[in-house]
Amino acid sequence: MTAHNKKELHHLWLHEQAAAACVQGRISAEEKAAIIKKYPAAFYTPNKIMRFGLFLLANFAISSAIGLSQMVLPSDKNENIISILLIVWGCIFIAIQEYNIRKHAHFRSGVDDALEWYIAGSLGIGILSLFKLSVSANAFVIGIITLLVALRYINALLAVLSLLAFSVSFYFEYTERLSFGIATIAYAFLIIFAAIVFLTVRSLSNFKTRFYTQCLEFLQATSLVAFYICGNFFVQFELMAELRNEPDEQAPVSAGWLFWILTYATPVIYTALGIIYKKGLFLRTGILLLIPAYMTYRFYFHYFPLEWEIFWLGLILFVAAYFLIRFLKGDRSGYTSRQIKESAGLKELQAMVLADTIAGNTPPHPITGGGSTGGGGATGNY
């Protein structure tokens, strides 16, 4: 299915396994280097910074090329010509992508990332505007196209888009075709996303799916978040009711208590599973989902002013982290608070966001007229 060289992909997988074994302390850095040397992966894969730059420039070139082709068409062109042009472009992009992969071994180079998005986008928009389909059929077609591109070129984000498109298609089919559809759609999605999480957990330890590890991880993260969204009380009783144009009391989801439990229990369960089974994805998702859980609570209950709550929560988080770090000092039970990988530029970024936060909460200066960094009350206009 994949266009990339399978032998090189296998070598890349060996590198990933070696890196994981090295982090776990099972092999030394020298042994890891020996593995990488013995199984070279001759892909053109630049580092993340260059990949980002190449992605931007390739995007610019491709969108300009599409723009130029539209400009040379007669001004009285009909819609079908544009659709066909987009499909032709999609085919040209496939040819370029296949050539780049075979001739230059591009893999996650930024250029191939951009091409993959344009392949899916041109073919998708071209086909959808050529055939006037229903919303669910449109979503289904997008799901199929993005899935095929994701499988062929191993693109994790397109795999996520495919899952979301299929979910939209399922939503419309389920709610429109079944009389009890609206009342039970939340439960159906809960089951589907839980099943996807379960399947991805299984597949991630399967040798046969080793080339698609990143796709599976992204799908797992998306499903974990989607499961939470479907089980969130606020989403079901406020947002969905508003989408359906119905007041809260008439919201079709009857088991409110279940959604209250899911709103608060899901992040805790994810975090607990992450800690017990040492699954970083579960742990990080669980911690992040504590934010919407708090926001849901805040939407319904206002016991204290917001600034007090934010301050106390911040203090609790800080103190909790302090004791956790002290607890993990001796690398207990295989957990450590030590840094495994250096992160360049993170502290600068954190300081800039913090400076913006302080500026945002500083009252305007009587003379200079605006909040600013540094608490001095000055802005760029000062």
Binding site: Q24, G334, G374
Partner: protein
């Protein structure tokens, strides 16, 4: 997760010694799981929430007794945080010193942020610096620089540089730059040029003299962005004298190119490419548009130029990536 097929292949190919294979297979081996990033996230979230909460609390309680209580609390946080860091700090050295743990980093960041809030409100409410508003940013800036060097903290150094820019009259945080775009005032552009050059010079000096040589990246990063944005702003704002601005832009791009090659920096190679491309494209399109009778085909020429130049830059970056990797 280490898969058995991986171990099987290494064994079959004799890639690792039998002892290493045993280590890979051993069920007794304790696999380490680092929660460093999760703790970083929680600590940083905590600092942000405390600062947001405190900032709003003081603001809402101005002119009440609660206001003074909150201010006193911020002062206590600032002082106690610095005392904690002083007690847990590694002995001072002009070389890089490792902080004892991540708590230390964030206690210092929180204390620095609290100090900024405290001094800011002292000036706002009690006008302690009178009409000398610059002092309200100058004093925290000096404290932040001393703190950054004494405690060896890149985050606090970044706060100090941001404060230095604020003192000089320009906002350098990403949010402000994105909101306001390029600078359109003479004073802002010239200040940014001077400040950018100053930061680059400081970065050069700290590395050469080994005064915390690892701070060089932070100075250089701020300096490079400031100078590039200022030169691009000048190029666009001073339309009639654009060549006067383009020459230093080209020279600086070339200088950064040499530096990136020497230091094997992918990051600076990318940003010089993007800023340099922006400047060169502006000059080219601007010059083309002056040719009489060209306007009807200008749209086509610009689009063709965009395609050709972007493809050339893609090739350039791929080549540079290979070159930097090889070195």
């Amino acid at each position: 997760m280490i898969q058995k097929e991986f171990i099987g292949q290494l064994q079959e190919d004799n890639t690792l010694s039998p002892e290493a294979i045993d280590r890979l297979r051993s069920p007794d081996h304790k696999d380490f799981f680092s929660v460093y990033w999760e703790l970083e996230f929680i600590l940083y979230g905590g600092v942000m929430m405390i600062c947001s909460g405190l900032g709003t609390l003081v603001y809402k309680n101005i002119d009440t007794i609660g206001h003074i209580a909150v201010l006193a609390f911020i002062a206590v946080l600032t002082v106690s945080g610095h005392i904690y860091c002083y007690k847990h700090n590694a002995p001072f050295s002009w070389k890089k010193t490792r902080s004892s743990n991540i708590i230390f980093d964030y206690v210092l960041m929180l204390s620095a942020a609290c100090m900024l809030i405290f001094i800011g409100y002292l000036q706002y409410q009690y006008n302690v610096f009178g009409e000398r508003y610059g002092l309200a940013t100058f004093i925290p800036m000096v404290i932040l620089f001393i703190s950054a060097y004494f405690f060896d903290h890149i985050g606090v150094l970044s706060l100090a540089i941001i404060n230095l820019a604020t003192w000089a009259g320009i906002a350098v945080t990403p949010q402000k730059i994105l909101q306001e775009g390029l600078w359109n005032e003479d004073r802002l552009i010239f200040t940014a040029v001077v400040l950018g050059l100053f930061l680059l010079a400081v970065g050069f000096l700290v590395k050469k003299k080994e005064f915390k040589a690892h701070f060089e990246f932070t100075y250089k990063n701020f300096g490079t962005h400031l100078l590039f944005i200022a030169l691009l702003s000048g190029l666009i704002i001073y339309e009639k004298f654009y060549l006067i601005w383009f020459l230093p832009l080209a020279a600086f791009t070339y200088y950064m190119y040499r530096q990136s090659i020497r230091e094997h920096s992918f990051y600076f190679m990318l940003i010089l490419t993007l800023y340099g491309y922006g400047g060169a494209s502006y000059v080219l399109i601007h010059s083309l548009s002056k040719i009489p009778g060209i306007l009807p085909v200008m749209e086509y020429l610009t689009t063709i130029y965009s395609i050709a130049s972007a493809l050339m830059l893609v090739r350039f970056l791929i080549k540079m990536n290979k070159k930097l990797k090889k070195q």
